[in-house]
Amino acid sequence: MAMRRKTKRKIGMTVLGWAVALLVAFPIFWMTLAAFKTEIDAIATPPLLFFSPTLENFAEVHSRADYPVFAANSIFISVSATAVAILLALPAAYAMAFHPSKRTKDLLLWMLSTKMMPAVGVLIPMYLFFKAAHLLDTTYGLILIYILMNLPIVVWMIYSFFRDVPKEILEAARMDGARPLQQVSMLLVPLALPGIASTALLSIILCWNEAFWSINLTATQARPLTAFIASFSSPEGLFWAKLSAASLLAIAPIVIFGFMTQRQLVRGLTFGAVK
C-alpha cells in the first residue's frame, strides 16, 4: 500500500515537475524552432510546430551581418577580461587567505560593496573618458570595464578556494624557501585549479551576457553579441528566423557553461552565503 502510494506520488510529481520545466524553458524551445524555419514559416498564423527545417538562416547569419566578427569580439573580450582579472586576483587572494591582517575582512567587504554601485551613476564620466582616450568602440575599453566589474567576485571566489588548501603544504614550501609568487604559481594554482576554472567560467558568463556597457560603449567594430542582438530591435527585427538563429548561436555556449558550473555559480554569486 505504502509502496503504491509512493509510486503514485512520484508519477504525480513527474507530471508537475516536467510541466513547470517545459513551461519555463518554452521561450528557448520556441526560439530554437524558429531558428530552423524559413522567414515565412516563422511568422505564419497559426504558428507552426511542424515544418520542414532549414539551415539557411545560419548560413545567412554567418555570411552577412558580420556575425563571426561579433562572436570573435565576445570571445576575445570575455576571455581576456577574465584572464587579467584572475591574474590580478591571485596574489591578493593568496595574501588574504594565508597572511590575513585585521583589515582583511573589511577590505573584502569593501570590494564586494563596489558591486552595489549602479553602472548608470558613472556612465557619463566613463563615456566622456572613453571618448577622450579613444577607447570608445574598442574591445580594450570593454575589457577594462569588465575586469573592474568582475574583480571583486573573482578575488572573493579564489580567496575562498585558497582557504580550502591545507596550510601544511604551503608551510613546507615556505620552509624550502619558496617566495610568495612561487607558492602561488607552483603550488596553489595547481591545487585550486578546479576552483579557479569555475571562477573563470562564472566570469566569462558575466562578461558574455553584460549588456549595459557593451551597448553604450561600442558601435560597430568592437560590438560583442549582446549589442549585436540588440540591433535586431528595429528594422532588421522583421527577420525573426534570422534573429532566432543568431540568438541561438549567441546563447548556446554560455548556457552549456552555465549548466557545467551551477554549483560554483551559486557559491560565487551569493558570496559564499549559500553553498
Binding site: 512520484k10 510529481m13 513527474t14 515537475g17 516536467w18 513547470v20 520545466a21 517545459l22 519555463v24 521561450p27 528557448i28 520556441w30 526560439m31 498564423t45 590580478l88 596574489p91 591578493a92 594565508f98 590575513p100 591582517s101 582583511t104 575582512k105 573584502l108 552595489m116 554601485m117 553602472a119 548608470v120 551613476g121 558613472v122 557619463i124 564620466p125 563615456y127 575586469i147 574583480l151 575562498s160 608551510e171 615556505r174 610568495p180 551576457n209 549595459f212 551597448i215 553604450n216 549582446t226 549589442a227 542582438i229 530591435s233 525573426w240 532566432s244 540568438s247 546563447i251 554560455i254 552555465g258 549548466f259 551551477q262 551559486v266 554569486l269 558570496f271 559564499g272 552565503a273 549559500v274
Partner: protein, 298 residues
C-alpha cells in the same frame, strides 16, 4: 558572509614576514580608482550646466537637481524603477520557493527538468527581450496573441497597453530561475534527518514546508533579495530593445532616464544628477539589505 571572514589575525608559521601590500595592490588599487574617481566626476558634472550641444559650460549649483526633482519624468522613473524591482522580486521569491520545493521532490528526469528551469538565467538580456517581444508577445504574429485569439479572448497589445508589466514579465523570466537555483541549492543542504524525523512524527507536507523548509530558507531568501535588487535597479537592455522607455515615460526607469538625458539629449549635467540619484537610491537599498542580511547571518 560572516563565515568567510573568520580568518583570524594569527600569523601562520615562523617563516620570514611576508609583505602583503604589493600582493594586494594590483587588485585593490584599480578598484579604488574605479570606485571613487568616476563617481566624484559624476558629482562634479551634476553641479554644472554642461550640455554637449551648448559651447558654454558653467557652474550651476543645485540647478540640475532642483530641475530634476520637479520634473515629472523623474517621479515616473522612480516609481517605475520601484515597481519593477518589487514586482520581479515578488515573482522571484514566490515562484522561486514553489519551483525549488517542487524540483527537490523525487521524480523521473529530475536533473534534466532542473536544468530546463535554470536555463533562462543564462540567456543574455537582449536575446530574452527579443524572443518575448517578437516571437511571443507580438500582437499580430506572436504565439500569445494566437492563443488568446483562438480562445476568443481578443488580443493584448503588450508593449502598448502594459509596457511596464511586459518588461517585468521578461525580466522575471530571467530572475525567477536564479532564485530557484539559489533556493534549491539551499533546500538540498537541509538536514535530511530532521526532515525524516518530522515526517515520522506525522507532519503534513504543508506544515513541513512552513515549519521546517521556510525557516531554513530565510537567509537564502534575504540573499536573493539583496542580489536581485542590485541587478534589478539597473535593468536597461530589456527596456531599450522592447519599449524604448515608452509609450511616453511609461516604462522608463532611472537607468533608462539617465541614458536618455545624457546620451540622447546630450545633457551631461542633468544626466549626472540623475545618476547620482540612482547611486543614492542603490545605497539606501544596499544599506537596508546588508543590515537585514547581517542580522540573518548570526
Amino acid at each position: 558572509m560572516a563565515n568567510v571572514m573568520q580568518s583570524g589575525g594569527r600569523k601562520r608559521g615562523r617563516g620570514r614576514e611576508v609583505r602583503t601590500g604589493p600582493l594586494i595592490a594590483p587588485a585593490v588599487l584599480p578598484l579604488i580608482v574605479w570606485a571613487f574617481v568616476p563617481l566624484a566626476v559624476s558629482l562634479w558634472f551634476s553641479l554644472l550646466h554642461y550640455n554637449l550641444l551648448d559651447p558654454i559650460t558653467r557652474f550651476a549649483g543645485f540647478d540640475n537637481y532642483s530641475y530634476l526633482l520637479t520634473d515629472p519624468s523623474l517621479l515616473d522613473a522612480l516609481w517605475n524603477t520601484l515597481a519593477l524591482v518589487v514586482g520581479v522580486l515578488a515573482a522571484s521569491i514566490g515562484l522561486g520557493c514553489l519551483f525549488a520545493v517542487l524540483l527537490d521532490q523525487e521524480f523521473y528526469g529530475r536533473s534534466v527538468a532542473r536544468l530546463l528551469v535554470i536555463a533562462p538565467f543564462f540567456v543574455m538580456p537582449t536575446v530574452s527581450a527579443l524572443i518575448w517581444k517578437n516571437l511571443l508577445m507580438h500582437p499580430v504574429n506572436g504565439l500569445i496573441a494566437y492563443i488568446t485569439r483562438s480562445l476568443h479572448l481578443g488580443v493584448i497589445d503588450w508593449f502598448g497597453s502594459w509596457p511596464l508589466t511586459s518588461v517585468g514579465i521578461i525580466v522575471a523570466w530571467q530572475w525567477v530561475p536564479f532564485a530557484t537555483l539559489i533556493l534549491l541549492t539551499a533546500i538540498q543542504s537541509l538536514d535530511r534527518e530532521q526532515v525524516e524525523a518530522a515526517r515520522m512524527d506525522g507532519a503534513k507536507s504543508v506544515s513541513m514546508f512552513f515549519f521546517i523548509t521556510l525557516p531554513h530558507l530565510a537567509r537564502p531568501i534575504a540573499i536573493v533579495i539583496m542580489i536581485e535588487t542590485i541587478f534589478l535597479l539597473s535593468v536597461f537592455a530589456e527596456i531599450l530593445v522592447t519599449t524604448n522607455g515608452g509609450p511616453g515615460d511609461a516604462s522608463t526607469n532611472l537607468t533608462y532616464l539617465v541614458y536618455k538625458t545624457a546620451l540622447l539629449d546630450f545633457d551631461v549635467g542633468g544626466g549626472s544628477a540623475g545618476g547620482i540619484v540612482a547611486v543614492i537610491l542603490a545605497n539606501v537599498v544596499a544599506l537596508f539589505l546588508v543590515r537585514t542580511v547581517a542580522r540573518n547571518l548570526d
